[in-house]
Amino acid sequence: MLEKALTGSRRYGILVVILLALFGMGVYFYLRQLEYGLGLTGMSRDVSWGLYISQFTFLVGIAASAVMVVLPYYLHDYKAFGRITVLGEFLAIAAVIMCVTFIFVNLGQPSRVLYVMFYPSFTSVLFWDMVVVSVYLVLNVITGWTVLSSVKEGVPPPAWVKPFIYLSIPWAISIHTVTAFIYAGMPGRSFWLTAIMAPRFLAAAFASGPALLILLCFILRRFGGFDAGKKAIDALATIVTYAFLLTIFFVVVELWTVFYSQVPDDMEHYRFLFVGLDGYKTIAHGMTVAVISAAAALILLINPRTRKKDSFLAVACVLVFLSLWIEKGLGLMVTGFTPSPLGHITRYTPTGTEMAIAIGIWAMGFLIITVLYKIFLSVREAAELD
């Protein structure tokens, strides 16, 4: 089936070339970072995780969101999702590969990355994160590829793939829970030390992931001749709406706990997040954009007339994705480190090298989605299904 990625329209070829070029740019800047050290990024002794780990955190959510199409179809026989489970699984594959790559470029000694396997530390939440995310990748490769092969052959999927599909459902929940546990288990970082971190991550994942999936389905309909169907899009939009409402509710709940209890340490982090501290307002400006996008998205999503109209839905999905990318990305990351344990404020700004590498990895992810979705379209075309 891979050979189907090697042929396609002119537009497909141009898209692949552009994404490859961006990926190549990322590789070039990564080689520079390898040579000089992480000093080429904006990270510092105080803000020791930045853009890379923030993207990893956000993308684990996107990867987990495949469960939002797999669960209704396989556990509850929701037939409308039958044709798009493969799209969800392929999105998960791309997202997980991006996650692992973001972790890799964040390492100071990447040549030693296999030490996590050779010298595992079973108390380390990061070790378990590697395990669950790697297994999740394997699960999605197996299920997505097998189901698409069955579509190609025109037969129902083989019985042995069902246990893998069923396993991927709780596994999706586990990857994002373990990622949240990285943050929620650190006694010294009060901004992250909250039990609601895992539920917040999952709610945000189930809003941003399906939002991206809706946008990808629109692209497939416009350029690929594949229509996911009104019922599937409507159901996904409903999922995005409820998950987004839940995410915002969780943020409100956090704000209550922090500001009604008036504990100074906790309040300071949230003040930094929404208003800024010591004249350092970059993250706060980002959050202003996030809040305004979220409000606009909510208006479009809650109103069924706008939610059911594709043009408004597309705008809403972009706004959901943007607001959560900010809030769950650098918003979450930098605020956890600011102020530092010794009360210092160190500014964090991603450098050009850092952004180039991040863009290169995103381009790689979109390249993987492009290739996998092209195979999907070609298989369906050959099977004369659409």
Binding site: G37, S48, G188
Partner: protein, 260 residues
């Protein structure tokens, strides 16, 4: 029946993985311990040992512009002096009282305490969150309480920097060599990308010498010893004077005690 192209590729792939397995097994297997013993008593001064190493910092003795402990430590351990504070590496350094003890700080605190300069360093906790999160065991706790750094194993993921509640750890953002003022040939440097922090001078303890900071302090503000030994100097001070620890409520059980 001849294999299809797909079957051929799958079998070839699995065979390649199978051929790679024996070397993988050898790599994962533990290496045999070399013949040796703990105490270099056969070679020189007997090592200093303890059930539980700890330090007492009598900050009331610290002078406001003194950095003797920091200089001695950084010279002994080839710690680079990097001007860019974003990339700085430090093992022990002075901070103000309000930064070290934010919970105990208030508007009407005693003036001498408010102005106090207090050296901070790794607390070598009994329940260290940095050790708990390290994915490769590059940082680990010794039986005598010292939280060690194995620079050979560190992959530079920086989760320990995030996990430390005290901001005691540094990473080498750049190659440190050009920034080391005076190379100490008896101690290695670190390379870019690995994490480092105070090691309670374990290499000096093994030779029967007290930590560099303790010996460098002219006011004798730093006292080092076995907190489990009722006759040690640290215990004597702790018995006589009121002591506090940083962020003790977090339960990491730090073993650097402060007298203010």
């Amino acid at each position: 029946m001849a294999p299809t192209r797909r079957e051929f590729l799958i079998i070839a792939g699995l065979s390649a993985i199978g051929a790679a397995c024996p070397p993988l097994g050898r790599i994962i297997a533990k290496e045999t311990p070399s013949r040796g013993s703990h105490l270099p008593g056969a070679l020189g001064a007997p090592a200093l040992t303890a059930k539980r190493w700890a330090m007492v910092v009598d900050a009331s003795k610290c002078c406001s512009d003194c950095t003797d402990c920091m200089t001695a430590c950084h010279e002994a351990h080839n710690v680079p002096a990097i001007a860019n504070t974003m990339h700085e590496v430090k093992w022990i350094w002075p901070e103000r009282f309000a930064n070290v003890f934010p919970a105990e700080s208030h508007t009407h605190i005693q003036e001498t305490v408010r102005k106090q300069i207090i050296p901070v360093l790794c607390n070598h906790c009994d329940n260290p969150p940095c050790v708990r999160v390290c994915p490769t065991g590059a940082t680990f706790r010794r039986a005598d309480g010292i939280v060690m750094m194995d620079s050979h194993r560190c992959i530079g993921c920086k989760i320990c920097l995030a996990a430390c509640p005290f901001g005691a750890r540094s990473i080498n953002f750049v190659n440190p060599r050009p920034f080391i003022r005076k190379l100490n040939l008896d101690f290695p440097t670190r390379t870019k990308g690995v994490i480092e922090k105070c090691n309670f001078c374990e290499e000096r303890l093994a030779r029967g010498i007290l930590p560099a900071c303790v010996m460098a302090c002219q006011e004798k503000a730093l006292v080092f010893g076995d907190v489990e030994d009722p006759n040690s100097k640290v215990r004597q001070i702790l018995d006589k004077k009121f002591s506090i620890r940083r962020r003790a409520e977090l339960g990491t059980k730090p073993h650097v005690y402060y007298i203010l």
